[in-house]
Amino acid sequence: MRRVVVTGLGLVTPLGADVETAWANILAGKSGAGPITRFDASDQVCRIACEVKPATHEYGFDPGKRVDHKVQRQVDPFIIYGIDAAGQALEDAGLTDMTVEESWRAGCSIGSGIGGLPGIESESIVLHTKGPRRVSPHFVHGRLINLISGQVSIKYGLRGPNHAVVTACSTGAHAIGDAARMIAMDDADVMLAGGAEGTVCPLGIAGFAQARALSTGFNDTPEKASRPYDKDRDGFVMGEGAGIVVLEEYEHAKARGAKIYAEVIGYGLSGDAYHVTAPHPEGDGAFRSMQMALKKAGLEPSDIDYINAHGTSTPMGDELELGAVRRLFGDAMQTVSMSSTKSAIGHLLGGAGAVESIFCILALRDQIVPPTLNLDNPSDSCVGVDLVPHVAKKRQVRAVLNNSFGFGGTNASLVMRSI
């Protein structure tokens, strides 16, 4: 089987719109949460989010850097974040000037959990107040989930597989896993893979709040709201942004002298077959997803030094994931570190698995694991587990596991190691 390595990274997050800024802020224990500024949220039960900051902010995002003015006007935020992160990753990999022949072997697998919800919401209002002839001609293709892959392929001339994953909060991890398989199966030599989300809008917040998924008890102290594994956790904090990696066939990367961050060695997928929003009570799907990824990687649990948990800060989800990890890892629980970076940047939904995979890769690179913020009073079930409370931790990191679980009972796990 052809080996697949990571040769480029791109991030747009609530804590920075480039890889090094976001990572430095994550390691410094900063929080990207704050009161919602995108719209008047005063009538919502959840009034906080981890928003991508405006260009004027210390670590804000300037959409004009890589996204044409015209495209910015036509598409939803998730596509803008995705195009920028994809551009960062290609620049990082040194692949912005491919020949036509090379471009036939370079593709995209970039997804989103929900897609253009803000635009669907606002254009629906236009339809109902002004009539069908006022609906934007760019409405459809500015909201479709596969239009990150579409826009990116057009902008950068990528003529290989053009694919988009939609598996709710597992999207980013599935997108990377699927793209790695396309390279392994010889469908492509290079794949841009990852996910993006931008649903901080009235309908998005109200919808998740009505599903009882969001934190509602920390509206006055937003930076305390995302607290995975803590006794006082009461739901997730919505984040937004994008994470995209360049995956490349190993020999291809080596031949051109590319910088290699890590190798993707394991990918597991499973379904809970249980409930649309609640995870399986025994964490069955999560367990089998991790187990499959480890098996593919040919590793034992004791080979894994760091787990970036799904850990959304919901009362049930965190508990069940921890239980599944405990069952799979057994004695290896004593040596592994496991943290949730959602404590810092919130839950990026379809972007989460990709952004968190990038944090895993950086943990491998820098031999340091990011912290779980706000873990003041760990739940009773956390005893004996290193959840990296409050501060980043220098330690040996040989191989990493990233978990993502989504509505519909869909689970994905990725295993990566240094090369």
Binding site: K70, R134, S136, P137, H138
Partner: protein
């Protein structure tokens, strides 16, 4: 420059993200200003909103330059 021309050009600059100097009256939306057919649909909608005119599809199809737009609006606005 007429008041209509001024407002039309402003809309074109905003929607197409082109430099104001490029938006001459002779400029073709597609050939000179990088628009595609959907951009023109959007521009026509914006003209309708701005000037309170209705531009039916058959008339919109004939609007290919900045001058075409200005002329149509001047002839049909209230």
């Amino acid at each position: 420059m007429s008041e209509t021309a001024d407002r039309v050009k402003k809309i074109v600059v905003e929607h197409l993200g082109v430099e104001a100097e490029k938006v001459t009256e002779e400029a073709s939306f597609i050939d000179d200003l990088g628009a595609d057919s959907l951009d023109i649909v959007e521009l026509v909608m914006a003209f309708e909103e701005e000037f309170g005119v209705e531009i039916p599809d058959d008339a919109a199809e004939k609007i290919t330059t900045v001058k075409d737009a200005i002329t149509y609006i001047d002839e049909h606005k209230a």
